[in-house]
Amino acid sequence: MNVAILALNVVLAIIAAPLIDGLRRVITARLQNRAGPPVTQSWHDIAKLLRKETIPPEGAGFLVSVLPALTLTLSIAMFATISTVTTQSPIEGGGIVFIELAILSAFVFAAAGSASRNPYGVVGGSREVILATLVEPSIIVSLTTLIVLRGSTTLDDAPIGLGFGVPLLVAAVAYLLSVLAEGGRIPFDVAEAESELSGGPLMEYGGPPLAAMKLGLYVRSLALFSIPKFFLTALLPPGSLGEGLSVTVIALYLASLLLCIILVSLAESLSARFRLVEASRFYAAVLALSLVALVLVYAVPGAR
């Protein structure tokens, strides 16, 4: 276990995540003919929330204090399993654990909604649970496809000279679509639907707990958006990247992040919110695509 890279990832997670969210807000605003906030707005939001008072809802237990922090730490832990700006990852064999942490953090978020004893929180929490259960399969399958392509469960940037072909492309597209659904923005923010549920699970939280939860959600999105880079670095010929920090990796990372954010903003600006049943049909389609990708990886010779 490489403690230095681990520490780097943790710091990066906390600093970069609000920036990425700010970038998304700017792009969405421009698509809507608005000026939009500055890119650093999300930093300011979190800083402001940290200065406010924590008011727990009446009758809620200690879970209300723990769960927001847990959301944050689980999301940050997701970064501990992958390589972000370096070629090696801090931990060996973290691919499946990444998925497990993604699952766990979704459920902790839902539990936070229920723990607040507010009917909107409970309804939002239950929607989040159903949503997570529906969208996880496609993420699981597409990430597993990536693992099979790379030939190991360690999600690092060691280039392996994979040939560019249809299986890789389909797998990448399937993953992008699943992550779009996981991100919790329109059209998929069924759980948090502001105009329907007044914020769902987030409703009863304010001040530092809300800051922790929001930051946790930002970090989770960033972690999920960090995966497409692996599809790209796998294409490079073996041995072309050195150890440690790598400019190529950083460049590819930024490019893939930008792609993800643009996709999310486009989806956000061009469609209304899905209801649960409609969302589930979309997820079923994405799952089918991910399964096709997995089958292709095995069916097409030389894809691995």
Binding site: L31, Q32, N33, R34, P119, Y120, V122, V123, I186, P187, D189, V190, A193, E194, S195, E196, L197, S198, G199, E268, S269, L270, S271, A272, R273, F274, R275, L276, E278
Partner: protein, 553 residues
């Protein structure tokens, strides 16, 4: 032909009708005994196909020892209005309730009960409507004896009983309001939900009740009432000012100058465009289509600029007064305005095409919150809500006022009765309004914009009907002496439309609740109109936080 309805009623209920008076062309008054009213109203609305317009109770105990209750019924297809007047003697303050036979009278009777103290016998649901929970039960604000000079002693044990379905334990209670992101004014809905499905709805209104009718009776003159009428609503103020002014001018037998009529049309249609653009944005936001919100409101800003150009105000124009309008439109401003209207039309058309082609948006609106034509007629709903359910009613076309008789426009009607139908009706209404504004500005006749009203006779019952963005706004007026109104009853369209909300919400999902309530385009402030102000000392009393918490009881 005009007396067809009266003839039919006399034939059906011989002996019940005690007197027939022609108040005005197309406005007839029938005197009835209070026992006969329920059946007559039921017959008139059901078999004769009428619409319930309003009901008002007036306190005549000082002069006649009685209360007067007027039901106003209308027939849009014939352009007829009928007032059914009945009297309740002081000492026997009750009357048989109309609601079991005609559910559209529900809210009116509850209001008469709490504001005048006349009990509707047999009303299934006689809870407080507009007054707050801690208002004392024995204090009736609309009686002439009540002087709104000081806050009354409030009850300490206040509460409100909510109706619940029989198997209430099976459902989750989801409170909706009074503060909720989706509704822009305070109102409280209580949903009983089964998972995501709404099984049952109850509502509590009255948070915006301000007492404007009482203020008009006690502290305003004929000239100043239009300005408070405008404050009934934030976005359809001119509609109320116009309705009041219409009622007053008809009572006085007064015709405003031609130019004033055309300017009034331009203003009313501008307001309609403004309201519909706002609504289209809000509806988009409620289903999660934020781009729609931003873009529709961008176009809405142009309308507000147009309004500022012509009236000096972006929203509450303050233009319509008895006798005409307050300001004239200069020639150069008229040209700029016409250009602006063309731009608005162009941008709105683009936006409308783009938005309504969006599959996800349509999917969220189609089939949601249906209201059948039968229900729409039974509840006497009005405006786009009715027109989307197949009921063709438009006060501009059927009860022509101002210059509408000389203008060309259409009234879109659709039959599906769901939220998408209401959206399309409003969207096409906007197109028609833009056409009307253009016609009005292009063909503005010359002449003065205001003429004084010489004399307003007292004790005249009069009606003003205006088609607002949300439906027909009905103002009922009884003129008094000394330059004040004796009774002024505002029936905003939302007052008639809100009772349909529980019906439309049942069986729908929680996700759609916001957009269904929004599709009525509720203007809650219009629906509730009373406050109490400490007039004697002239200061406003600030209520401390502790008191507020105590009042929550």
């Amino acid at each position: 032909m005009k007396n067809e309805i009266v003839d039919a009623l006399s034939e059906r209920f011989p002996g019940s009708i005690r007197g027939v008076t022609e108040l005005r062309e197309n406005l007839t008054l029938l005197e009835l005994g209070k026992e006969d009213v329920p059946r007559v109203v039921e017959y008139a609305l059901g078999s004769l196909g009428g619409t319930h317009m309003t009901m008002a109770g007036t306190d005549y105990t000082a002069s006649l020892d009685q209360y007067v209750i007027d039901h106003v019924l209308g027939w849009y297809d014939r352009g007829l209005l009928l007032v059914l007047r009945t009297r309740v003697q002081k000492g026997d303050e009750s009357f048989p309730s109309v609601t079991p036979l005609a559910p559209c009278a529900d809210w009116y009777e509850r209001e008469v009960k709490e504001s005048l103290g006349l009990t509707p016998v047999g009303h299934p649901n006689p809870r407080k409507l507009l007054l707050s929970d801690d208002w004392p039960d024995d204090l009736f604000p609309m009686r002439k004896g009540f002087k709104n000079e000081a806050p009354p002693p409030l009850r300490r044990d206040a509460g409100f009983t909510f109706n619940a379905p029989e198997d209430a334990g099976m459902f989750n209670i989801v409170p909706y309001g009074p503060y909720h992101f989706a509704i822009h004014e305070p109102i409280y809905f209580r949903f009983h939900v089964d998972g995501e499905r709404i099984a049952s709805v109850d509502l509590r209104a009255g948070f915006n009740h301000r007492g404007l009718e009482k203020i008009a009776e006690t502290r305003m003159t004929y000239e100043t009432v239009p300005f408070i009428a405008e404050r009934v609503c934030g976005i359809c103020g001119s509609v109320h000012a116009e309705a009041y002014t219409q009622a007053l001018e008809r009572a006085a037998g007064f015709e405003p100058p031609e130019r004033a009529k055309w300017i009034r049309v331009a203003i009313l249609e501008m307001e309609r465009i403004h309201s519909h653009l706002l609504w289209l944005g809000v509806a988009s936001h409620m289903v999660g289509f934020d781009s729609g919100l931003m873009q529709f409101w961008r176009v809405r800003d142009r309308i507000m600029f147009l309004a500022e150009l012509l009236t000096g105000n972006r929203k509450q124009y303050g233009m319509i007064v008895p006798g005409g309008v307050r300001r004239d439109i200069r020639e150069d401003k008229r040209e700029t305005a016409l250009r602006e209207v063309s731009t608005i039309l162009r941008e709105y058309e683009e936006l409308f095409d783009a938005a309504l082609r969006l599959g996800t948006l349509k999917a969220r609106l189609e089939g949601v919150g249906p209201l059948s034509e039968a229900d729409a007629r039974r509840l006497s709903v009005t405006g786009p809500l009715a027109r989307a359910s197949g009921v063709s009613m438009d006060a501009r076309r059927d009860y022509p006022y101002e210059a509408y008789g000389q203008l060309e426009f259409e009234t879109p009607v659709r039959g599906e009765g769901d939220v998408l139908a209401r959206t399309i009706v409003r969207a096409y209404d906007t197109f028609e309004s833009i056409k009307l504004v253009k016609q009005a500005l292009e063909n503005l006749p010359g002449g003065p914009v205001h003429a004084p009203i010489e004399y307003i006779p007292p004790d005249v019952t009069s009606m003003g009907l205006v088609e607002g963005p949300r439906g027909t706004d009905v103002h009922y007026l009884i003129t008094g002496g000394e330059d004040t109104v004796y009774r002024w009853r505002v029936r905003a369209p939302t007052y008639a439309n809100l009772p349909a909300a529980p019906l439309m919400l049942r069986g729908q999902t929680l996700a759609d609740a916001s957009v269904i309530i929004g599709s009525i385009d509720p203007c809650i402030s219009c629906a509730e109109r009373v406050i109490v102000v400490d007039e004697a000392s002239g200061r406003q009393r600030l209520v401390s936080g502790d008191e507020l918490r105590g009042w929550r009881a």
